[in-house]
């Protein structure tokens, strides 16, 4: 049972990292470290920022 939970957590961690969902947490952590006292952006604000960034950096997909 505990092993299953461990695996479940591992899979969740992997998928979140792979899809970039965890990027927001990393961004907040960085933000707090570099600009203590300034409130972190909300998830929504961050996603808008991320979408704008993606616009300028097309990622090639191979055949």
């Amino acid at each position: 049972m505990r092993a299953a939970a461990r695996w479940g957590r591992a899979v969740r961690w992997y998928l979140r990292e792979l899809t970039g969902e965890a990027e927001y947490d990393r961004h907040c952590e960085r933000h707090r470290r570099r600009h203590p006292g300034v409130p972190v952006p909300t998830r929504r604000e961050y996603e808008v920022l991320r979408a704008v960034r993606r616009e300028g950096r097309p990622e090639g997909r191979c055949c």
Partner: protein, 717 residues
């Protein structure tokens, strides 16, 4: 340091000069197993053997290659230094550069390099039998493909993630760099055109397939709005919803096919071409979050899921290989799927999975900016390519398990097969294989398609093979049609993602190039510039797509060699850059590591290109073909498989364009090679080598073998 909850995978063996007895025993067993499997493949003549032997032979070889050859390359040739900070660490900005866990990056890199290519080439190459293809896929990846990916990744990482074009310019020279840049753009256009053609051939006259693939657009749009507006950033949950909707769309296709809507989704190849062109344009000008990003998530999930499913399927169903080990077409060169002899055309047809130049673009793009430690290029560069190679092996298995009669009825050009079951059965008999008209109708009915005749392009063949394998395990014959359309959808999804992303990349390249001539067009936020460049890119690949879909000689038959040559020429450019850098940095002794595959790929591409231009055989040489049809046209004759004078004109135009294009590619690559050779000679003569453009050494502050961060148990809401 936080400990990992993840089970360790592919952890590098501790660096020791002597192997422990246990490890010697283990690797001897792996070697033995692989050798036995190769032995079975080599000795099987005439009798049918299980596909599991192919899997064992490939996996055994990959394991040995990864453990020994990639380690040799790392230790002796590249000499990565884990005390040196990678660009991800030095330039960390949380956006482009940030040190990423190696297993996550492996997944990322694999998703970026593997697409429809390794699924299509091996299926077409099965006309020469399963053995030549298997040998090339396995040997090619070990000594060429994975080496290229790993070395390019390493070089780009040492140069802060510079692109292949930039590296060619800086390490080889201005002429070589410019030629490389133009070649990259031209090659990408061909690639997009041919891949889109695969989709058209798979969806033509198939309401089920067309409906389910069309549904991916609203599904992706829904996901986009969900992710952007309703639940920002919840990618995993959104992707799961998307995959569920996708499966529903496949199941719904069956209903649509039998309803009054069927007519609306039964489209001719030409209509599909225009749909795809329109889609490609819209997708490339819409904001990324709306369509491209969600489609990419869907595609990644489906990719990893289906490939895992296929691996399980092949092992559990253990299908029997029905194709010949080496067919007569391997030696005669008169195969109906693609013309030409084994050397060089097998090596052109199977590019992705063995050696794919396109990977050099990915390996010099996003991935090098995310590597945590230099030594990880081995896992990510070499390892991911081995995984792609395994996908190619599975595609080959799926094709080789089909009855050869059915394989040829599906893959020979329409002009040869005609349109009825009788004519196709007759044509297949003429090729030396048998399939009765009844069996052919039966096979189409089993997957609920109107016809399987002349469904070239690889996707339908793979889908039939996959449906056989899957229905053997899950669901039996009742689900065969579902699995067939599942496989079609899965390939179409990859390809459309590649088309979206490729058009966008192409647009940026074009804006960049044209921006040098006229400033405003280079601005990435000037709408008319974006529309113009997107339109130009779409028109360029759309031209090849249209000419392929309407080519009387069979578009895949004509264009696939062009695609293969283009892809392999890109590999030649990448390997030339690698070899030049090795020689410039005083590693002449090890230059053969990339130099030998370079020599090989130059030999195959230039031989193939030469034959495509100068061969007298009208099936191989584009200009011989052109002359034959032009002469007939002057005499007012119509040569089969053309049916009208218009068809004749089409053949003449297409063969001219294709021939000129190959000549142009060869010329561009010859410029790169010539320039690289000059630099290499200069480097050998110069005492101590020539200066490189590597970023200077900065000491790393991250621990040598960092574990991934603890999964965020209390993720923020």
């Amino acid at each position: 340091m936080p400990t990992s909850v993840l089970p360790e995978t592919g952890r590098p063996v501790p660096e020791k000069s002597r192997m422990s007895p246990r490890s010697i025993l283990l690797w001897a067993a792996v070697a033995l197993l692989g050798a036995v499997a190769w032995g079975v493949l080599a000795l099987a003549r005439g009798e049918r053997i299980s596909a599991v032997w192919l899997v064992v032979a490939a996996l055994g070889s990959y394991a040995i290659a990864y453990r020994f050859y990639s380690r040799f390359i790392a230790r002796r040739v590249l000499r990565p230094d884990d005390s040196r900070a990678t660009p991800a660490e030095r330039l960390e900005d949380g956006v482009d550069f940030h040190p990423t866990d190696r297993r996550v990056l492996l997944g990322h890199h694999f998703a970026a390099i593997a697409g429809a290519g390794p699924l299509v080439g091996p299926v077409l190459a099965a006309q020469m039998g399963y053995l030549p293809g298997t040998l090339w896929i396995v040997a090619g990846v070990i000594f060429a493909g994975a080496v290229q990916d790993m070395v390019v990744l390493f070089l780009s990482m040492r140069r802060d993630g510079k692109s292949l074009g930039q590296m060619a310019r800086e390490e080889i020279g201005r002429a070589g760099g410019t030629a490389a840049l133009i070649a990259v753009f031209a090659i990408m256009i061909i690639l997009l055109g041919v891949l889109a053609l695969v989709v058209v051939n798979a969806l033509a006259h198939s309401p089920w397939g067309t409906f389910s693939v069309a549904m991916t657009v609203p599904i992706a749009l829904f996901m986009g709005f969900w992710l952007h507006r309703i639940r920002p950033g919840r990618v995993v949950e959104t992707s799961l919803i998307g995959v569920a909707l996708l499966l529903l769309a496949i199941a719904g296709g069956s209903w649509v096919q039998n309803s009054s809507l069927a007519g609306a989704f039964t489209l001719s190849p030409t209509t599909l071409v225009f749909c795809l062109i329109g889609y490609g344009f819209v997708a490339s000008v819409l904001p990324v979050w709306m369509l491209l990003a969600p489609r990419d998530y869907l595609s990644t999930f489906m990719k990893i899921g289906t490939i895992a499913l296929l691996a399980v399927g092949v092992v559990f169903a253990a299908p029997v290989l029905r194709a010949d080990a080496v067919s007569d077409f391997a030696t005669s060169g008169t195969g109906p799927v693609f013309a030409g002899s084994l050397f060089p055309f097998l090596f052109i047809t199977i590019a992705c999975g063995a050696l794919s130049g396109f990977h050099a673009l990915v390996a010099s793009g996003t991935t090098p900016k995310l590597i945590q430690k230099e030594s990880q290029v081995r896992l990510i560069g070499y390892g991911a390519m081995l995984m792609e190679s395994f996908v190619a092996i599975m595609a080959l298995i799926a094709a080789a398990t089909l009855e050869p009669g059915l394989y040829y009825a599906m893959n020979a050009p329409a002009g040869l097969l005609g349109t009825t079951a009788q004519s196709a059965s007759h044509a297949v008999a003429g090729l030396g294989f048998t399939i009765s008209p009844d069996q052919l109708t039966q096979a189409a009915r089993a997957v609920e398609e109107q016809t399987l005749i002349a469904r070239s392009g690889g996707a339908p063949t793979l889908a039939v093979g996959m449906s056989e394998i899957f229905s053997g395990i899950f669901g039996g014959t009742a689900l065969k049609a579902f699995w067939y359309h599942f496989a079609i959808m899965f390939e179409a999804l990859f390809i459309l993602t590649t088309v979206d992303a490729g058009t966008r990349v192409g647009r940026f390249m074009l804006q960049d190039m044209l921006g040098n001539l006229w400033k405003p067009i280079g601005r990435v936020n000037w709408k008319p510039g974006i529309w113009l460049c997107s339109g130009l890119v779409v028109a360029a690949w759309g031209y090849f797509l249209h000419s392929g879909a309407t080519d009387p000689l069979g578009g895949i038959n004509q264009l696939f060699p062009l695609f293969g040559i283009a892809n392999q020429l890109l590999a030649a450019i990448a390997l030339a850059v690698c070899t030049t850098v090795l020689i410039k940095s005083g590693r002449l002794r090890w230059a053969w590591v990339t130099g030998a595959p370079l020599a090989w790929v130059v030999a195959i591409t230039f031989t193939a290109g030469w034959q495509k231009i100068f061969s007298d055989d009208t099936k191989v040489g584009f200009f011989a073909q052109r002359t034959r049809y032009a002469d007939a046209l002057d005499a007012g004759q119509v040569l089969p498989p053309a049916k009208t004078l218009d068809d004749m004109h089409t053949v003449v135009t297409n063969s001219t364009v294709d021939g000129v294009l190959i000549a142009l590619f060869l010329l561009l690559v010859a410029v790169v090679m010539g320039n690289a050779a000059v630099v290499c000679v200069r480097a050998v003569r110069a005492p101590g080598g020539l200066p490189l453009t590597e970023a200077p050494y900065v000491e790393s502050r991250i621990a040598a073998a960092p574990e991934p961060a603890e999964p965020l148990a209390k993720a923020r809401t």
